[in-house]
Amino acid sequence: MAEITFSKKSLERYEWLLTRYPSKEAVLLPALHLAEEEFENIGVKEMKYVADLIGIPPARVYGVLTFYTHFRRAGCGKYHIQVCSTLSCALRGSHEVYQRISERLGIEAGETTPCGRFTLSKVECLGSCDTAPMLQMNDDYHEGLDLELVDQLIEQWRAELPEGGSS
């Protein structure tokens, strides 16, 4: 297993975070965000690194990481598309949105395209009900969707991430 480590900048950030939280355990969530920024996806190696950095059992990190849907776990595509499927979005057509993305990318929820560029998920309410239906792609919200907008987004993402350019 190749050694991994935070960059100097992330380490400084981590040190600062430690001063902002009452306990080491409490710093786990922001540390995982840092890990995501640093390593993109969080797998076994990355969880172990974070656990050792904080000084908590790796199983604790594993439990917390898998509790949330929004962390990018190992194997997640470069673009993680999370379609909200809770009530407001569902009433406003989230199923069609999901269906369209699924057809165009050729994957179901929980799957990643073979090229490793896209991962599709169905998630619960993302707190943007007033602009339903909506989805989150990595850190960005895309709101008030219709099928045309969905097509445009997919074209745009494909253009941003040429095939074969994934890591």
């Binding site: 969880m47 059992p57 790796p58 199983a59 604790r60 594993y62 439990g63 898998t66 509790f67």
Partner: protein, 537 residues
């Protein structure tokens, strides 16, 4: 209401009761003999309050409250069986079971499963769930433990155990909602020395001990309260057996010794009972002899010997057996009694205070109190010197060690006795050339008592049913020998032998088997009698 009240007056099911302040409703109710259903609550762990089966109705809340975490207070009125409480628990049970595979017929927990019990008493009699059940993993979490994820109710008892008791933190709950289940971090299995306790405390059949999987049905087994012989701590155990064979050992609560826990050595180390190299038959000069011949041979070898006798006892022997050795020694004109033991193991301590002793013998303190505190040191040295000088005419050796890691020098010295009688659990070099070799009972097959490292005297009981013993125990053979020597009219039970011990050794004087009860007693002069035992000679 005074802040320093010594009791709290509250109402439990319409009856006014008083309880010490600070207790939870569940704890206080228990003091009034009312057990409120629970899954996630465990007296040895922190309160998690996640399972909700302990719902009760309170006059201070519009909704039911969880009794494992709500504390009693002056004027609190609690109903455990009101319509609201029953309805709440019924709903909890319905939720608990929606994804449960209902595989009790093939589940090793069936018969002692709290989920079964509460489903029966509190649950609905049918499911309204028409969707597909979620499937969760079944896999090994370590070499001795597997998880059957579909049965897990995510009470987190096992996770809290590894966090709070062992401090090893191997377990976690992964995923969430109906997919959540217990797991280990990839590549970091649960392998701590107390790990097996998570199997005991899992309220359902989710954590299964590999050694017990599909071995027996709970209700078929005989349960024997005893004490672990794995080290001098003397943890309380329950031996569960089928047809005289140990199937599993579980922890038995004793707040003064082991609380609710035992270590994995105590839990799993019983296979030696059936080990291939176990001595099961008597033999003389290497030739097998039947039991009666062995008995008369023992009698003859001892009574016909007029010379110098040495007896070497082991600290796996019960206080009763040791007492009989003392009696024997006093009938012989020239006899010394020394003790030997196996090499030390490794001691281990855990954050909550649980300590596994390096002394792998349950009754070293008993030897000290009954035979003498120098038995392992100066007396042993003296006996060895006499043996090496060829001065010992008859040597009686007790080697009831499940794992005889014995000193070579001792074994050489033993071989120098003119006549040698050996009681042994395992065959080994100390048995070779013995004039009479007799099988030893293993600790789990003994009736009597052990004195632990803290001077607590506790009852050990045999898992073998009366009349089913494959050979006479040391307790029986030593008494027969004493009868033959004209020392006593007849044999008595281990309790009878204990009464003799109590009248002859001061430290035991105010005890009997019945005063020991289920959790033992600290001998008043125990500590001083035990004193410093010194090392082996």
């Amino acid at each position: 209401m005074s802040e320093h009240a010594t009791t709290v007056t509250w109402t439990l099911n319409g009856k006014q009761v008083e309880s010490p302040p600070g207790l939870t409703i569940m704890e206080a109710a228990k003091l009034h003999d009312l057990e409120i259903p629970n899954f996630c609550y465990h007296p040895g762990l922190s309160i998690a309050g996640n399972c909700r089966i302990c719902f009760v109705e309170s006059n201070r809340s519009p909704k039911p409250v969880i009794s494992c975490s709500e504390r009693i207070a002056e004027g609190l009125e609690i109903q455990t069986h009101s319509e609201m409480a029953l309805e709440a628990r019924n709903s909890v049970m319905e939720f608990q079971l929606i994804n449960h595979p209902l595989d009790c017929p093939v589940c090793d927990k069936a018969g002692e499963c709290v989920l079964q019990d509460h489903s029966y008493t509190h649950g609905p009699d049918r499911s309204r769930f028409e969707e597909n059940k979620t499937i969760r993993h079944t896999k090994k979490l370590g070499s001795t433990i597997s998880i059957w994820g579909n049965r897990c109710i995510v009470c987190t008892r096992c996770v809290r155990f590894c966090d709070e008791i062992t401090g090893t933190g191997e377990l976690c709950v992964v995923e969430r909602g109906d997919r959540s289940v217990v797991d280990v971090f990839p590549g970091l299995p649960i392998e701590n020395s107390l790990a097996g306790n998570v199997i005991d405390i899992c309220p359902v059949g989710a954590l299964i001990g590999e050694d017990f999987k599909f071995e027996a049905r709970i209700w078929d087994m005989k349960k024997t309260s005893s004490v672990c012989a794995g080290c001098s701590r003397g943890c309380n155990i329950e031996v569960q057996s089928l047809d005289g064979f140990a199937k599993r050992i579980v922890a038995r609560e004793n707040p003064e010794v082991n609380e609710w826990w035992i270590c994995d050595r105590g839990r799993y180390d019983y296979r030696y009972l059936l080990a291939a190299d176990r001595v099961t038959d008597a033999s003389a000069g290497g030739e097998p002899i039947d039991s009666d011949t062995a008995d008369s041979s023992l009698n003859d070898l001892v009574s016909e010997n007029g010379g110098i006798v040495g007896i070497l006892v082991d600290p796996m022997m019960t206080c009763e057996e040791l007492h009989l050795v003392n009696r024997l020694s006093s009938t012989l004109s020239d006899c010394q009694v020394a003790a030997w033991s196996t090499a030390d193991g490794e001691a281990e301590s855990f954050p909550n205070g649980f300590t596994i002793s390096s002394d792998l013998h349950p009754n070293r303190a008993g030897v000290g109190a009954i035979i003498g505190k120098d038995a392992f040191s100066t007396v042993a040295k003296g006996l060895r010197r006499s043996l090496d000088a060829g001065d010992i005419d008859l040597l009686i050796v007790f080697a009831g060690f499940p794992h005889p890691d014995l000193e070579k020098k001792w074994i050489e010295s033993i071989g120098k006795a003119k006549v040698r009688i050996v009681f042994s659990l395992q065959s080994g070099s100390w048995c070779e050339g013995a004039d009479l070799l007799l099988p030893s009972t293993a600790p789990l097959e003994k009736e009597g008592s052990y004195l632990n490292q803290d001077g607590r005297l506790q009852r050990v009981r045999t898992l073998i049913a009366a009349g089913q013993q494959p050979f006479p125990s040391e307790l029986v053979r030593l008494q027969a020998l004493l009868t033959h020597l004209g020392e006593r009219p007849r044999s008595v039970s281990s309790s009878g032998v204990f009464r003799e011990l109590a009248s002859s050794v001061e430290a035991f004087s105010d005890q009997s088997h019945s005063t020991l009860g289920e959790s033992g007693c600290v001998l008043s002069s125990g500590k001083s009698a035990v004193g410093s035992m010194g090392g082996d000679a």
